[in-house]
Structures are given as structure tokens and as C-alpha cells.
């Protein structure tokens, strides 16, 4: 029996499919979930989600949320999630710079927190993007 994975963000359902294995960054470290996993509720920290299905592998960047496993059904409630191939590197780099600049200036506590959140998001996205984008785009270069 396969695992069913559902990634839900406040805006939409990002991913819904049958998978073989999920690797997720949790508050207590990285975990892998295989079929017939015990019921689990845990917190996700910003990082990359790796989804394995057959021989193919897919990566997503997430910025925190919750993960629930119940009877081979994984639900991830993420604040924000994006597929590696959808990440726009240039835009994200710009966002990172903007956030860094904001944090250097002495802004109000509120702005600082928002900039911090943006920065974490940008760094996570870039990490995932640089890791997977090159590999994914190779066939098109030839």
C-alpha cells in the first residue's frame, strides 16, 4: 500500500499524490516516512521536503508547518511551500537582499520580524533551488 501525501498551504493544495517515501525536516531532526508508518504529529522547520516515487525524486521548499501521519495518509500543513522547479532564483535572491538590508537598518520590531521571515523563506528556497535546479535543467541544455 502506498502513501498518500497532501501538502496544504493557506492559499491552495500544493501537492496531492501517491508516493513511496517522504523525507521531511522536523523540529527533532530530519525524518523519513515510509508506508505503514505509525500515527505521528510533528512540527516542520524551514527546509526541503524530498518526495520519492519509484525512481523519480521531487523536492519542495517549505517554511515551517505541521505534519500529520494517519494510516498511510500524510498531511502537511505548511505556511508556504513551493516546488523546486517553480522557484524563481533571481526573484528570490532579490528578496533575500531586500530582507537583509531591512534587517540591517534599525527598523521597528514588527518590520524586523517580517524581514526575518522573508529571509528564512528566501534562504530555504535558494538552498533547494540550487540543489535541484541544475540537475533538472540539464537535459534541456543539450
Amino acid at each position: 500500500m502506498n502513501l498518500i501525501l497532501e501538502i496544504i498551504t493557506p492559499e491552495k493544495i500544493v501537492y496531492k499524490n501517491e508516493i513511496d517515501e517522504l523525507i521531511a525536516p522536523t523540529a527533532d531532526g530530519q525524518i523519513a516516512i515510509l508506508p505503514n508508518h505509525i500515527g505521528l504529529l510533528t512540527k516542520i522547520i524551514p527546509g526541503e521536503l524530498i518526495i520519492r516515487k519509484g525512481n523519480s525524486q521531487e523536492a519542495l521548499a517549505v517554511t515551517g508547518g505541521f505534519l500529520e501521519v494517519a494510516k498511510n495518509h500524510i498531511s502537511i500543513l505548511a505556511d508556504y511551500a513551493i516546488r523546486a522547479e517553480d522557484i524563481e532564483v533571481a526573484k528570490t535572491q532579490e528578496a533575500q537582499k531586500r530582507a537583509e538590508k531591512l534587517m540591517e537598518e534599525k527598523v521597528s520590531d514588527r518590520d524586523f520580524r517580517m524581514a526575518q521571515a522573508d529571509l528564512i523563506r528566501a534562504i530555504t528556497e535558494l538552498k533547494v533551488a540550487t540543489k535541484y535546479k541544475r540537475r533538472a535543467s540539464k537535459p534541456t541544455e543539450v
Binding site: 492559499e11 522536523t26 523540529a27 500515527g39 504529529l41 510533528t42 512540527k43 500543513l77
Partner: protein, 289 residues
């Protein structure tokens, strides 16, 4: 014949107005559609979050509960979050909201306010009440990032026990034709206990880290999500109200145009008749000579 020119001008004015209102109606319609889509697509997340929160709180004893779920003692002050639009021209929406606000004010004098939207900010300021913070609502679909500063202020006040509860005043979206102001309590969070005897829907679950540690962040999330849903609903109401208001404005403008056209034609005909009479009289005067 100055009068006839005035009527012509008035027709032109009414035409221009009807063009503007029709455009506004169309914009509101498309925004309403998008907002409805957003509200629907956000629903799975909210449902799942509610479900998880419910399960988690079931596992915990009363004293283990998070501060979000307890009513602070020895304080009577309340915090009211009022959500309105930034722009007017949306029928009775804001008037109704202000009415409800005044009602709340007479019921409890110790209310602190957070306002979202320029329209209500002025009304609260006129009451002479303490406004902790005010935000703009914007004219596009509210984005989730709007919530963070609001949630942070609420956190500050509620978790430091400066206030007894947090309520929200928003415009409830019943149908496209009917929206009404409504007050809901958002803090302390009250979650119904679910029956966990059914193994099918509640399989054995481990919590990592412990349920007690997950709960605060889950509840915080829940709070943010609830706030966002209210923002979305207020936005929906605003667009629906504007759509209806602009539709009736367009219809009224058309009525005025019809009436003015009739008047214009009448006067024009009268003028022509008078001229013909003049010419006729002149001609007959010649004939007699």
C-alpha cells in the same frame, strides 16, 4: 433657450456617472469572484488545522492547556479588532459597522481598539478611545502577511494578561445581497471536545515533540488562520456590497437619463413649434401688406 442646454449637460453628466458606476460594478464583480475562490481554496487548510487542534487538545489535561485557551483573571479590559474597508461607495456596509461599533462601546467602556481599514479608523478616533494600532485594508485581496503584525500585537496584549478577551467586529457575508456586521470572540480559544472512542478516525498517534510543546505553535497558527478568514470574509462582503450598490447606482442613473431625455425632447419640440409659429405669423403679416 438656456434651459435646453442645461438639460443636455445634465444628461451628459448622468451618462458619465453611469459609466463610472458600471465600471466599478464590473471591477467589484471580478474581485468578488476571486475572493470567493480564495475563500474556498483556503478551506481544506482550515478544516485540517481545526481537526489537528481538536485532537491535540483532547490529549491534554486542563492545567496543561496553553495560555491561549485560558481567560486571564483580574482584568476587565477587552480588545476589539474592527475590520472595515479602505474605500467607501459600498452601500450601507460601513454605516452598519459603525452602528454596531457604537453598540459595543455602550456595552463595555473598557475596550481597546485595533482597526483595519481607513473607514473605521476615523469613527473609532471620534469616539475618543484608545487605538493600539491601525492598519490599512488595501483594495486588493488581503494577503496572509497582513496577519503577522496584527497577531503579534494580539499576542502581546493577551499573553501578557493586559486584556481579558479579544473580540472581532467584521462584516459577515451571508449572501451576495446580504451582509451584516457581526462580533465574534477569538481569544481565549474555545475548542469543543471530540469523542475519541472511535479508533477508525482517531488512530494511535505519537507526538514529536510532546503534545504540550506542539500546542502553543499550533494554536498560534490557528489564531492566524482564523484572523485571515475574517479578513477574507470582510473583503468578500465589501466587494459584494459595492457590486450591489454600484448596480443600483447605474440603474438610477439610467432612470434619470430617460427622464431627462423625455424632458429634453419635449422642450426641443416646443421650441420648434414656437419657431414655426413665429415664421407663420411673420409670413401672414407680409401677406396682409
Amino acid at each position: 433657450m438656456a434651459n435646453i442646454i442645461t438639460i443636455k449637460r445634465r444628461i451628459q453628466t448622468a451618462l458619465n456617472v453611469s459609466k463610472t458606476t458600471r465600471a466599478m460594478q464590473m471591477i467589484a464583480t471580478s474581485k468578488l469572484k476571486r475572493a470567493q475562490d480564495a475563500a474556498i481554496s483556503g478551506r481544506p487548510y482550515v478544516e485540517k488545522l481545526m481537526f489537528l487542534t481538536q485532537r491535540l487538545t483532547n490529549k491534554l489535561e486542563e492545567e496543561e492547556k496553553s495560555d491561549y485557551m485560558k481567560t486571564p483573571k483580574d482584568v476587565t479590559d477587552a480588545l476589539l479588532l474592527v475590520i472595515s474597508s479602505d474605500k467607501g461607495l459600498c452601500g450601507g456596509l460601513i454605516t452598519n459597522l459603525v452602528k454596531e461599533l457604537l453598540d459595543q462601546d455602550t456595552n463595555n467602556k473598557d475596550i481597546k481598539y485595533i482597526t483595519v481599514g481607513k473607514k473605521i479608523e476615523g469613527a473609532v478616533a471620534r469616539l475618543g478611545k484608545e487605538i493600539i494600532a491601525s492598519f490599512n485594508f488595501g483594495t486588493t485581496l488581503p494577503i496572509f502577511d497582513m496577519i503577522y503584525p496584527i497577531a503579534k500585537i494580539i499576542d502581546d496584549y493577551f499573553l501578557n494578561k493586559k486584556i481579558a478577551n479579544v473580540k472581532i467586529l467584521y462584516t459577515h457575508f451571508s449572501t451576495v445581497f446580504y451582509q451584516s456586521p457581526k462580533v465574534e470572540t477569538i481569544l481565549p480559544i474555545k475548542i469543543q471536545k471530540a469523542d475519541e472512542s472511535n479508533e477508525e478516525t482517531f488512530p494511535f498517534t505519537i507526538f514529536e515533540p510532546s503534545a504540550k510543546e506542539i500546542l502553543p505553535s499550533l494554536l498560534r497558527h490557528y489564531l492566524e488562520m482564523v484572523l485571515y478568514q475574517y479578513l477574507l470574509e470582510s473583503y468578500l462582503s465589501e466587494q459584494a456590497a459595492r457590486m450591489i450598490a454600484m448596480k443600483s447606482a447605474t440603474e438610477n442613473a439610467k432612470e434619470i437619463i430617460d427622464y431627462l431625455r423625455l424632458e429634453y425632447n419635449k422642450q426641443r419640440q416646443e421650441k420648434i413649434t414656437n419657431e414655426i409659429l413665429d415664421i407663420g405669423n411673420g409670413a401672414s403679416a407680409f401677406a396682409y401688406e
